[in-house]
Amino acid sequence: MPSLKDIKTQINSVGSTKKITSAMKMVAASKLRRSQEKAEAARPYSSRLEEMLASLASSASSGEGIIKLLTGTGNDQNYIVVPVSADRGLCGGFNSSINRETFKLVKSLEGDGKNVQIMPVGKKSRDFFNRVMKDQITESFVDLNISNTGYESALQVSNKLQELYFEGKFDKCILIFNKFKSAISQEVTQQQLIPLDVSDSSKEENVDDSAVKAIYDYEPDEETILKDLLPKNVSIQIFKVLLESDAGEHGARMAAMDNATRNAGEMIDSLTLKYNRTRQAFITKELIEIISGAESI
């Protein structure tokens, strides 16, 4: 049976853990609000850009130069997979679900005989793939700190990707990230970034699309605009994903820390109960000793 002192120490240590986790929860909650605001602020730009692209996409015909970002290289042999994780842990299944999903995707693509490279964003996925698939990592980005540096850091990733693409290093790029659904739930999402996948957004609008195209004047001309627009779109998509992932991370951490705090509270309750029982047992034992001692005289 543990002594009273042992239980007391244990209660104290669980108590201080609880303090830490609840502090982390508060921090995550306030950071969440901030990064959620950022993610929302970025939305008008990216939705406008998508609209513009959708109405222009149909005019792309030849597969040369920058237009290749839209039309593809004509191959699908070489893939690059970009898992977007957090730089820090203690946020529940946030990072591990990204890593698991990426790992599964890489394996299944390899099963189909494709060449797959990995370009992890975030410390946690970099460390994971450094352990399991070191040779396939082309480049990694850590400490991007998107909520402070903003668009600049998204540009880094996007420029590197485009550089590799135009060198012919890969044909398709797939992003894997946590989509921010609400403060307590994130959804692991795959998104094909290059070549651009406009099918889902433009299909429904196809009817009025042609009408829009007929009316707009393009200056200087459609192709020039498209050439400017496509690289920007890649950057902005990455920016959006990074922001979503950042908000998701804080949400996940908040939920995880909330759980931890609650568990610590329960543990303290049960330990306190045990402490009181043990104390009572000691008192009873002492009483019995005194009484039996008195009787024997």
């Binding site: 970025a42 513009m52 393009y218 605009i225």
Partner: protein
């Protein structure tokens, strides 16, 4: 007089969103003014000034954009810009310093930066469109 709704959007946030009288936008092939009822145009932009005017053609705000896109229809004008500064927050001395630093660099990125910085100085010196 009629008004046109104007949005100036950067990747990080919505910078300007209001009903205005007129906007002058630095299109790739030359500046163009947008009045209410303008025909539909999509244009890419060069680095330059976006000028926003009230109903009686008084200058409300002047921004510097480093490039981007504009979409215009009769009711609305949207400018998507990569980076936006309000003209009166720019400091000439610091931009000139930037130009000096970038002058001798050969990389494409530096050249692009240089042309943006030069356009900034031009925008600061120019007094076109201030009174209409």
């Amino acid at each position: 007089m009629a008004k046109i709704s104007f949005d100036l959007v950067s990747p990080e946030n919505l910078i300007f969103n209001d009903e205005v009288g007129m906007i002058i936008v630095p299109g790739k092939d030359g500046d163009f003014g947008v009045l209410p009822g303008h025909s539909k145009v999509m244009s890419s932009l060069r680095p330059g000034r976006v000028m926003v005017y009230g109903e009686d053609k008084n200058l409300l705000k002047a921004f510097f954009v480093s490039g981007g896109f504009a979409e215009v229809n009769p009711e609305k004008c949207i400018v998507l810009a990569e980076s936006v500064d309000e003209i009166n927050t720019l400091e000439k001395s610091s931009i000139e310093k930037e130009v000096e630093e970038l002058k001798d660099q050969e990389t494409d990125a530096a050249k692009e930066q240089l042309s943006i910085a030069k356009a900034k100085i031009e925008a600061l010196d120019s007094s076109f469109y201030e009174k209409i």
